[in-house]
Every structure is written in C-alpha cells, then in structure tokens.
Symmetry: C3
Subunit: 347 residues, 3 copies
C-alpha cells in the first residue's frame, strides 16, 4: 500500500496513477466500507470542506460525495454553478458575471480542503476535451486536490467504484473478460467518459477487455492507445468489435451503455449535430442488453451500469432487475471508493 505518495494530488484521470496507487485507494475503500457497515466512526477529514461544483445534473455523484464527507467527519459545500460568478478562462470573461478560473480556484483553495467539479456537454459547448481543460485549469491554480466528478474525457470516480465492485464479485481481475458495449437510447446527448475511463482503469488490472460499438461510435483514439499501453504493461488483452452479440460470449462482466458519437460534436463539427447523432443512433436500435443476449455470457456474469439508465432501450427491466445485476452495489461503491480517494488525497 502506498501511504505517502497520494497526499495533495489531483484526481482527474486514473491514467496518472500507478496500479499500486489505485490499489491503495481501493484497499482503504474496502476498510471504510466495513467501518460504515459496523458503525465505526471516522474522523479522517474532521471539519474539512470539499467544494463540489456542478455544471450538470447529478444524483449519485453529488450524494455520494456529500454523504462521504459527512461519514469522514467533514462537509461538502454543494455549489450550483449558476449561483456563483461563472468561472471563465482568459478571453471568455464578462464583467461582474464571470470570474477567472485562476481566481476562483485560488480563493476556494484558501478556504477549503478540496475542489470537486462536474463539467461536460452544454457548459463546454460540446467541444470534446473542453471540460477536461477546465478541470486542468482549476488544478493548475488550486493547491488543494482537484477531483474529477466527470468531465468530457474521464469519470475516474465511477471507474474506481466499478473496479471495486468487480473485485468484490470476481476476486482477482486478471484475465477476467470485461465487455464494454454501446447500447441504444432515445437520448443522444451523452458523453463517452464512462466506457473509455473504465477501460483505461480496468486495463491496469490485467483484464481481457472487449469494446463493442457500431460504426460511428468509436471512442477517443488517445484513450484506446492508453488502454493498449496498459495491456502491454499489466497483461490481459484488448479488442474491438462491431457486434454486441459476439462480444457477450463468455463474458464475466457486461457493461452495456449508451454514448454519443465523437463524429457529431466539435471539433469534428462546428457545433453539436443532433440530427446526425439521431440518425446514427436509430440505425442501432437493437443494441439492447436483454435476456437473450445475457444468456450468451457466462451464467454468473455480472451486469453493470453507472446509472441513470434508459430502461427498455439500453437494458431490459428483467436484466437490470434480475439476478445478474449488481447496479445498486455498484452505486453504493461510489460512496466507499470516493471515501478511499478523498481520505488519501485530502488528509
């Protein structure tokens, strides 16, 4: 376990952490989960403050961070981005309505002990990478940890909860088959952060990863390269396919989820092209995880989803509410995984 290298660091992408560092967070998460189950009190972040800034809706992320800070003895200040002066980078500023990120970050860093941010989609102009750029700008100026609560590239806290859940269910993850698959939804304005960040994280644990997606739903090539690098270093394998059914065969873990096409958002287009996105989606309405497809996987395969899910489109009710589903364990693990991360970074 790493006891010293984590204090004060930002948590924006798991790519910036070693396998051993991630394991340290997950080990602590498991201990803190047991403590909560048995009612053992934590004062690890006593009277400390985490600012949680949201540019997008949230149920799980907000409440797991806020509840987590309470369980650790501190407090999370929930900040609706409309109620503060809008943080803006140089050149985007509007007098008395925006405030430069460098100022916001430095002020908050002086008052509290960590800054967590969610920013993707509309507030970033749908320009891929823009949300991440904002978080990096915050991290550049804040000398307290900046934690990514989902930008447009990464959702590392979700990925950590996912790995924690897989470890609980499967034990050693080496050479277990993880299928990350696109799925259909009538709602098309979705980032691809969850699948690519999950694979980038799971590939550090030696899993055999299959990415299934229709043509047009390729993920960020930089992330695919990073996954391949991880495979080289940590073992396991990575392959891509355009058949949901093929991918499910002998799977240990199924993670089917909808995401938008990078071909329909800037910089590939001048603005988000919803019509083109819908056309692409509608070609693939059969990409649903239903009972028939579930049977292609191992009988004890687990079904995962970060939630919220679009029932009847991404997944059949019988699957998500059935015996293979672990989605509520997964949601609860957001809480414990993040406590492990915060306790090591913000102490």
């Amino acid at each position: 376990m790493q006891t010293k290298s984590l204090k004060g660091r930002d948590f924006i992408s798991t790519l910036e952490f070693t396998r051993e560092e991630l394991d340290s967070m997950l080990e602590l998460a498991a201990v803190l989960k047991a403590d909560t189950a048995s009612g053992r009190d934590h004062l690890l972040l006593l009277r400390k403050t985490l600012f949680i800034i949201f540019y997008n809706k949230s149920l799980r992320t907000r409440n797991s961070f806020e509840t987590g800070m309470t369980q650790l003895g501190g407090h999370a200040n929930y900040l609706d981005s409309e109620k503060i002066y809008t943080p803006a980078t140089e050149g985007e500023e509007k007098a008395y309505s925006t405030e430069r990120v460098s100022d916001v970050a430095r002020v908050l860093a002086r008052m509290g002990d960590g800054i967590a941010i969610r920013m993707y989609g509309k507030p970033t102009g749908w320009m891929y990478g823009n949300g991440n750029k904002y978080l990096r700008e915050f991290a550049k100026w804040a000398d307290v940890p900046v934690i990514n609560m989902e930008d447009d590239m990464y959702h590392p806290c979700q990925s950590m909860a996912d790995v924690l859940t897989m470890k609980e269910k499967l034990g050693d993850l080496r050479n277990k088959k993880l299928v990350v698959s696109w799925a259909y939804s009538p709602g098309v304005k979705k980032p691809g952060t969850v699948p690519q960040c999950l694979m980038a994280t799971a590939s550090k644990f030696g899993m055999n990863i299959t990415l299934a997606r229709p043509d047009g739903f390729q993920l960020d090539p930089m992330m695919i390269d990073a996954i391949k690098e991880n495979v080289k270093k940590h073992g396991g394998s990575f392959e891509e396919t355009d058949s949901m059914e093929d991918s499910f065969k002998d799977a240990d873990v199924l993670y089917p989820k909808s995401w938008g096409s990078l071909a329909c958002v800037p910089p590939q287009t001048s603005e988000i092209n919803v019509d083109k996105m819908k056309t692409l989606f509608d070609k693939n309405k059969d990409w649903i995880c239903d009972d028939r497809k579930l049977k292609l996987a191992k009988p004890e395969a687990i079904y995962m989803h970060c939630l919220p899910c679009d029932r009847g489109y991404e997944v059949a009710d019988s699957v998500i509410d059935g015996p293979n589903s672990v989605v509520f364990d997964e949601a609860e693990n957001r809480l414990h995984a993040q406590k492990g991360i915060m306790a090591l970074l913000m102490r």
Copy 2:
C-alpha cells in the same frame, strides 16, 4: 414507551402508527427539546445522512429537518428536484432526463440513512393522491425510512408538532375542543393536507374535534371515515359544520387555515380549475379569524397555524401577533418533533 417497533419504518401517515407509538415519538421529542435548551450534545444520528427532496418551496420544513439532523450529529442533503434526474414512475419516463423512482430510491437507500420528500400540487398534476402515490413508491423500493414532508394527503410531521404544542399548552388532550376551520385567502392553490392530517392525528388523543368549512370545501371522505374510526376507539368526538362562528364556541384550540376545494382538481375535473376555485373562495371572504370571532372561544384558547399564513385574510394581525397565538412555539416544535421521529426511525 415503544423502544423497538419504530426502527426502520416509514413515516408517511400517522394513521399507520398506534397511539402509543406516536406518544413514544412525542416523549422523545420533549426530552430532545430539553437537551437543546440546556446544551446537552446529541450523537443519536452521528455522521448519518438524510436526503431531503423538495418539489415545492419550504422554509420551516427544510430548515427544521436540516437543523434537526445537525443537532443529532448527522447531516441533511438538501436536494432540489430540478438538479437531479426527475424521478418518474414506469410509463412516465423520458430518456436521460427522468429516472425511475425504483432506481432513485434504491440508490439513495444504499448511500444514506433516510429519505424525506415534499411533493404536492403542480409537480403531481394536481391529481389528488398522486403525491402520496409517489411517496409510497419511494417507500416500496427504499429500505431506509421514507419520511413525508407533505404530500397531497398528509403532513404528518406538522401534525406531530401540532400535537406536541397542544400537549405543552393544554396537558392531557382528552375532551379538549379542537376547531379546525377553513379560512379565506386570495391564494387558492393550496392542499388540504394540514387540516385532515391534524384531525386524523388528534383524534387518536381523544380530542373533541369540530371541522368548520363552507360548502365546497369538504375534505377527503376516506380521511373523515378514519377520524370517525379513531373517535370510536380513543374517545372524544367529531362533528362538521358550515359556520366558522358556531365552531369557535368554547374552543380550546383554534386552527383556522385556507385550503383548496377537492371539487376543482383532478380526478373531479380534468385539470385544476382555478376560476371555479376562485369563485368558491370569493363567496367566503368573511371566513377570517379576527378578534371578534376569537372572543367566541375560551379566553385561554390557543390560536395555531402551520405557517406561512396570509395575514389580513386567514387571520388578523392582532390575533396571530396577540396573546392567544402560539404559532412560533408551534414552528419551533417542528424541529423537536421531527428529531423525535428521526431518532427512533433512523437509528
């Protein structure tokens, strides 16, 4: 005192609790009130989280729950319903904008220790009973206590604070005369939860209850039946009248308050009929609790109101700010009554 039967239960209507169970909550409330007065620290819900979800405005309810959780050593997460994915029941869902209640409830139950909800009026489409149905759906799926912060049928935490206040002022409530009366207001979009829930609760304590209301403002017949059942079991009496003045005679407690007509909302109409509602209201502008009417009650009668009140319409300033008024004691008792409820349910 009941020490075991309350843990883990939902608090949606007082009808589902025995008189002895309600008394247990009120006894604890009184103890916790004395503790606050003397500065004795509570750790009854140390580091626990209550989610408080609001579909409507709130001053007293939100702040009494949030302050109450702080006083008990825990924390209330204030959730504005617009900032989470809107909870929806099966068939009402919209991709990536709503989330099925079964999922919201199960996720929150995994993270925190209780879920409190306020939902009536517009967010329910004004369909009488719809708000309560939502709460029941939450309760069905959440295995932590669900607490009703006012739906369209019940406001049980208000009723408990009201009973606590009456006990403080009048002692034994048996055969004390409680008058629940309609009152005029220019604002007509109001649920009838407070009066009917109060009578359903007070009738477990053997009070003599008079309900005064103009024609058109009858309350839910199911609730009236429940009140009559309680009277049979617990003593006291119940009667209805259409004269505010008659009802006030020899009263120990006056509770005059405006509420909307069930005849003007679904399922009686296809949608809320505000014009018809206004016409009904305007026929009864003289239903105000003023000094003249106050004199009809016992000299030491107490004037109560859940607040906010429409001054000059429901009540004269001289009454609500006069010596008979106990409205601020009543408001403070929200805090202590709810601490008693939460401490027994959520421990």
Copy 3:
C-alpha cells in the same frame, strides 16, 4: 479584549461597535486562524446552525461562512431566496408566495442560532438603503444574531477581513495611508458598500484615508460624516480627491474598485438609470490600477480587492498577480474574520 458584550448582538454595521469590540473579534480571528493552520479542533459552535440567505450571487461569502461554520463544529444552511417563500415587509405581501419578514425571522430564530443575509441591487429595486432596511427588519424580529453578508450600505465582514489583512501586513495601522479609489468596469450595476464600509471601519483604527473618485461617484454623505467622526475620535485623517494618481502617492494600501453612482439609482431617480450610469463610467476608463500607477505608491504598498474583479479594467493582470497583491490572503481572511465574529456573537 471584550469577552461579554458581544454575545447575541447583530452584526449589520461596524459603526455600531467600539474599536475595542472590533479588536476583540480580530484577536480571536487570528487565534482561530492559527488553530486551523495547526489542525487544532474547534467546537465553539458545536451542532449550531447559521442560516445563510442569498438574494445575490456569491463565491467567497457563501463558502467562507459555510466552511467557517464547519470548522467551528456547526453547520450553515444555504438558503436560495427563490426556494423559500419570499420574505416581504407589510404592504408588499402576495398571498402564498411571500411571507412577512417578521414571521420568517421569528421562525428561523426559533430553529437555529444565527441568520446571515445578502441583499442588494435588483431584489431591493435598487433603492439605496432598502437592503439595509430589510436586514434591520430581520434583526428587529429575530432574537438570534443577524449578520450582514452585504446589503446596499455595508459589507462589514469584508471590512473586518480587510482590516485583519492590513494588520497582518502592516502591523499597527495608525497613520498608515489607505487609498480607496474608484476604478472603471464595463459592468456598472455595483453597490458602493465595500469602499464606504471599509473606510468607516478603518477610520476606527487611526489610518490616514484618501478617497479618490471621479465626479458623480461620491459615496453616501452620512457615511462620509461617520468617517470624519471616527477620525476625530481615533486619530488619522480623511480626504477626498478626484485624481486616482494623486491619491496613490506614498500609499501603504491601495484599494481600487469599481462602484455605481448613487445619482443613477432611487431615490435620486425613479428607477436605476443604466444609460446615465454607463455614460458616467465611460468618461473614466483610465481609472485602472496598472503598473505605472502602482509605482506612485510606496514600493512595499499592498494591493487589495474584495473580488471578483474585472481584470483588464479595474486592475491590470500584472498588478493583481504581482508581488504587491495580497488579494488571496484577503479572501482567506474572510473565513477567519467571520469565525471570530460568529464565535463571539453566536456562542
């Protein structure tokens, strides 16, 4: 140090406190700051609640109060004014949408331990003094401390943080030269609370104060009189000039900041006259604190600003990010100054 005279008092303007009382708060603030730096736990306001009601945006104020309450062992309930029944004074009420201030104040006072309010500009109809009147109305009815988080006359918590910062940097403030100067901004809807409240506070500490402003940007004559009174009693001096450059000469402290003209808002006009305001502003675009002007002050002079600032207009980046700037120390001192105030008032 005053140990008893402060408990239970309101903090609406520093004018109502003696120099010794203000010093007591600042002394405690310095102790609490050292405690935070060393990790010493505070339970000064254990399980206590401060209500923080915002009619305007806030980054520093909200987060310093919320973080401060956490550090002292209590909790701040963040209240968005749109989510409660709008507090209104007699005659301004609208049924079931507003609630009389006397009721709001008394209810909150019964539940929590303090009420802090921010209200200026649009929610006050831009009528100068209206925001302050609201706060005074709250204070009249609430028997817990009411704390001013900025109205349209005073920003006393900012002023206390400013004095704390000046003391840290300059030691004894007697006869140190403080320059409060108007500065240009394209955003014209700004109250003049910060400059006039700062001078009213600093003049209790014997500073030599120069107020620089173009014609049309005179501050409230009542405040100017109060400053002159303070100078008579506590030493130091006060003068006004219409030259930014003249004022900077030999300054120890530069506080250049934009504010709106009292000549363009009620009661001087019937409503806020933005066009006239813009014309007045645009005549004075050269009122920027840049490197050239900075050189007119003492070499070790400190540059201060309450933030947010309009970079490139009020101040050059090179000044606010340069070696003379203490703006982030100043922002952090909001936290500690307010802890000193709250701990003495709310205990």
